[in-house]
């Protein structure tokens, strides 16, 4: 039966490689049925955390519980399955052989034909893996992860290295499978992937969780634009009073305005002030992180 345990309980995880602290006191609880995006830039500690979550590496300190037990036990019972960046495939096996071989390692699996179908690779079942594209190989890894019908599916940057079409096909396959309360945790550095698929986003930076909320909440942090202009002696108070402005920052002769209404700010700067070199940039994920961390320290 589905247990009443959380799907994932990470408590105070730390992991260092030499002088580098990859994961720094990370705690996270994921309930059964949640679809969680683990969002952060490269080097944020996402892969290290996932390795510990799957029992592929041991935390220096802290504990990992997966579906109420150890990661190793969850893997051995087919309760957790994963699609990793580093998981290799045998180039000389066919797609179908790879699925059948892997199915033999479990006590019980879904039929090979079914997982091939669900991963959208039925038509290439007889193709040798070495002749499959990166996207096809990734869907094969996904098919392998579907075999045990896991309660928890973990995906580490599953679309890295894919072209636009490959990414779309992969997420379509995953979405087709999004059924009936399977817990999904996926790491990504694409905000749009997190937005399109997750119902909860956990933002990580430098091995720590810097924000944890619904997709809408996190998206708001990344929305808006930054207007930058050269304007000696800028009137900060006047700029801050403009509609939609979140923050005004002066750096030497430059002024940076974070706003939800960049048109109003630009219009004001160009018509009411001596501003020049006006630039408008979308706030990216990095800005969202900055907004978050500064909000936290200011609170």
């Amino acid at each position: 039966m589905t247990s009443t345990h959380p799907a994932v309980e990470l408590d105070g995880l730390t992991k260092s490689f030499g002088a580098v602290t990859a994961v720094d006191g990370l705690s996270l609880r994921v309930q059964p049925g949640e679809v969680v995006a683990f969002l952060g830039p490269n080097g944020a500690g996402k892969t290290t955390t996932i390795d510990m979550l799957l029992g592929l590496s041991r935390p220096d300190t802290g504990t990992v519980r997966v579906l109420g037990g150890t990661p190793d036990d969850a893997v051995a019972r087919g309760r957790v399955a994963a699609v990793l960046q580093t998981g290799g495939l045998l180039k000389d096996l066919t797609v179908g052989e790879t699925v059948r071989m892997t199915s033999h390692f479990y006590r019980h699996t879904r039929p090979a034909a079914e997982v091939l179908e669900r991963a959208g690779i039925t038509d290439i079942a007889d193709r040798v893996v070495g002749r499959c594209s990166g996207g096809q190989q990734q869907r094969l890894r996904f098919a392998l992860a579907l075999l045990p019908d896991p309660d928890l599916m973990v995906l580490d940057e599953p679309t890295t290295g894919m072209d636009v079409e490959g990414r779309r096909d992969f997420w379509q396959a995953l979405r087709r499978d999004a059924r009936r309360g399977r817990t999904v945790i996926f790491a990504t550095h694409y905000l749009d992937e997190a937005d399109a698929y997750a119902d909860r986003i956990v933002l990580v930076r430098q091995g720590r969780i810097v924000a944890d909320g619904t997709t809408a909440e996190i998206k708001n942090l990344a929305a808006g634009r930054t207007v930058r202009a050269t304007l000696p002696g800028a009137d900060q108070a006047a700029l801050a009073a403009l509609p939609g402005v979140d923050a005004v920052e002066v750096r030497g002769d430059s002024v940076l305005v974070r706003t939800g209404d960049s048109d109003a700010v630009a219009r004001h700067l160009l018509t009411r002030t001596a501003a020049r070199d006006v630039e408008i940039t979308s706030r990216n994920l990095e800005d969202a992180f900055l907004a978050l961390t500064s909000a936290q320290t200011g609170a």
Binding site: A76, D92, E97, F105, R107
Partner: protein
């Protein structure tokens, strides 16, 4: 947005018991065997080349006899069977290096397959290919006219086959030593040199005296002597047995230690 439901209503709960034998399964072994037999390089070096060697180097000895009256061609055939078996088992064991380089071993860690079951599959595959290599070499010999008593076929064949277990361990040892995609291209020449010292290409007795002394300590020497003993009628020296046992232990323990290092969680 549709909230996900925390339970999986309407879904039959899958069987969550652990697999028997750590995930070791005849079905996976079958695919592994087919995979080995599809590899052209493996087939060329283990099943075809030793047979061709026999036709080139063994057949011309056709009329000649050993001291006990048995055909020299049989001596060549048995030696080449040992060579074929050791190349076969080494290549399967050494394939671990390729699979580690490709990241397949990491992929396997996401399945219930226990590392010991993986190694058992590799060993059985290695010994199956080794057996096939011996049988084919003997078939080539028999068809070409080699005639020896049945017990020689059987005992020499068994010795060549079982001796190659040492090289299955050697292959695993190399496989866990360094991840490399083309490990056999490096080991192949090494095996040829070892086979030469083991008296598989020419009798050790024709080597210079110093090399003869060195040869007795190389890993093929013992199994060569043992495999030919039923044919030559020479007694099996303690040195030959000790050679086989010591190298089996060295490679076996070495492979086991590297294997444990590889599977340790970091």
């Amino acid at each position: 947005m549709t909230p996900s439901t925390p339970t999986r209503a309407g879904v039959t709960e899958p069987d969550r018991r652990l697999p028997a034998l750590g995930g070791f399964a005849p079905g996976a072994l079958g695919i592994e065997l087919r995979r080995v037999l599809r590899n052209r390089r493996t087939l060329a070096f283990t099943l075809i080349m030793p047979g061709v060697f026999f036709l080139i180097f063994g057949l011309p000895q056709g009329g000649q006899s050993l001291d006990n009256g048995r055909p020299v061609a049989a001596y060549v055939m048995i030696s080449l069977a040992v060579y074929a078996a050791m190349v076969a088992t080494t290549s399967v064991g050494g394939a671990v290096a390729t699979e580690r380089a490709l990241g397949w071993s990491r992929q396997l860690r996401l399945t219930p397959l226990r590392p010991a079951a993986y190694v058992a599959t590799k060993l059985i595959t290695a010994m199956s290919l080794g057996l096939l290599a011996v049988v084919i070499e003997f078939l080539v010999g028999a068809v070409a006219g080699v005639r020896v008593p049945a017990y020689v076929w059987l005992l020499s064949g068994l010795a060549a086959w079982l001796g190659s277990l040492v090289f299955a361990a050697f292959g695993l040892f190399i496989g866990y030593l360094a991840p490399a995609e083309n490990v056999m291209q490096i080991i192949g020449p090494v095996l040829a040199v070892l086979a030469m010292f083991g008296g598989l290409f020419v009798p050790v007795e024709v080597l210079p005296d110093v090399l003869q002394q060195v040869a007795k300590f190389t890993p093929v020497y013992g199994m060569g002597v043992l495999a030919r003993a039923p044919l030559t009628g020479d007694g099996v020296s303690m040195a030959a047995v000790a050679n086989l046992v010591v190298w089996a232990l060295l490679f076996g323990v070495g492979a086991a230690r590297l294997f444990r290092r590889d599977t340790a969680r970091v």
